[in-house]
Amino acid sequence: MSNLPILQVINLSKKFGNLVAVNNVSFQVNSGEIVGLIGPNGAGKTTLFNLVTGLEQPDSGKVFFKGTEITHMAPYQICQLGMSRTFQIAQTFSSMTVSEAVRVGAYNRCDEKTVIAKVNEIVNLCNLEAIRDIKCGELSLVQLRRVELARAIATGAEMLLLDEAGAGLTAIELAELMRLLSRLNSEAGLTLCVVEHVMQMVMGLCPHILVLDSGVLIAEGVPDEIRRNSDVIEAYLGVRELE
């Protein structure tokens, strides 16, 4: 069960003018996995997320989700199939309360009768009871990221793409987030793909890591392999000149 590929990306490319943001990238994510996607700034991680979730159209290549081709689907259709995401720069529903924002996501799989129960369940799950009636516009960045995550979980997605969910969090908040994510993974069977700069989080959370540099997938493997991979070290620290 857990070895079936839920997401397959095949030879995906995207250019912006002369800049090749994503260059012939192929990988696959198995159902129930937690995959980390790392790489230096400008490596094309967010663009890759945008291509996979339908917010941008690739120039070439294909994306399959649960065996269905989603390459040219609209974001809402992809979400209805069972994949949602969060954003690097929080996309806040400022004038809505936390529970209202969660409700937007919950409507993906619920009707008017079941939506309230679903919202309550997600609010509890993500520890948002204390702020459920506060407007999102008045929240701190940390709280906003939790709301974004809650919104995405509420869609009933089987796979979540998290774009820098850990950025700007303190060590304690980060540990809490990691606990929540691994709980979602082990209990709800959620497949996760996380873009992250915080190495502590990626290495601790993800048994499977992809490394992107200048739009190219340069390495793939378990954390220990990635840590020792010379291409990865080069991409992050520059070329070793004296050796």
């Binding site: 609209a74 974001p75 979400c79 949602s84 954003f87 529903f93 409700r103 993906n108 869609t155």
Partner: protein, 340 residues
Amino acid sequence: MLKKISTPKNLLLLGIILFTLVLPLVIGSNQYVLVLTTTVILFGVMATSWNLIGGLGGQLDLAAGAYLGLGAFTTGTLLTRWNITPWVGMPLSGLVAAGVAALIGAPLFRFRVRGVWYALSSSALVQVLYTAFMMWSSVGGPMDQYLPRYDASFYYLRYNTYAPYYYILLMLLYIALYLNYYIRGTRLGFQLMALGESEEAAEVLGVNARNSKLKALMIYAYLVGVTGGVYTCLFGYYHPRFFDSNMSTEVAILGIVGGLGIPYGPLLAAAVLVRGRELLRANLGTVVERSSMAVYAVILVVIALFRPSGLAVLAGDIYRAIRLRFAKDTYVKSADSAGD
């Protein structure tokens, strides 16, 4: 059961409804006040309907005049050409307006036209229709088209008092208000609110942006189209100048100044601003021509500076302040009586 229904809020609502129903009987002899009130409600209907797409959905629509004009021409043409009663013409007007809205909205929303570009596109629709109807001679072209005249005719919806039009518009207003409250609590309402804030975020949460916005646009266009039918009967004629950019902008202004997305905001703004504008015109217009518009503009700027969240928020603050005061009094009183 009775206790549950007779909350202060519901009693206030009942009072307002009763007041609006008997108002023409009280001021019936004063046709000036009645036409003024009717105008307020006319703008109230349009701005309240606009609130669905503009307030909830966050699309700055400037095409109210287009849908009003289409409604006026539909009802007017059916009546003058084929002698079809406005009672049939008005619902059809709504359908024509909603149909055109769908034709315009589908490609705009498909290609993600939003923000200022949506505002400009919708504003252009008014101008395009104005020019098209000026040239379309078989529905009258640039000539005023007069409806048949009668002192009192139910079939032709012609009366020599404003009261019947007042009641029809009042009914539309209550429908528009009800829809605002109702939709706000449904899937469509939540999806529109989310779209108004961040389209990308809404879409990855499963919101079909085009369909949701199209639904809101069509409901709004339908209500303004029906209003257009009433409008032509109220004035007894129709002309392409009904495709009015200024009026379209004013509808959006009322929606914004009233408080985006707040159901009763646009009506409040219409009551204050349309009434205020007419007062200014009556008092200042005779002193310096057009000076009333300058004062009106200053009032808008002051509101924008000090209450950018809208009049409805201001009204809410005042209401809360009064309640707090009231609650304090009763608290003190009960404390006193406990002391006895």
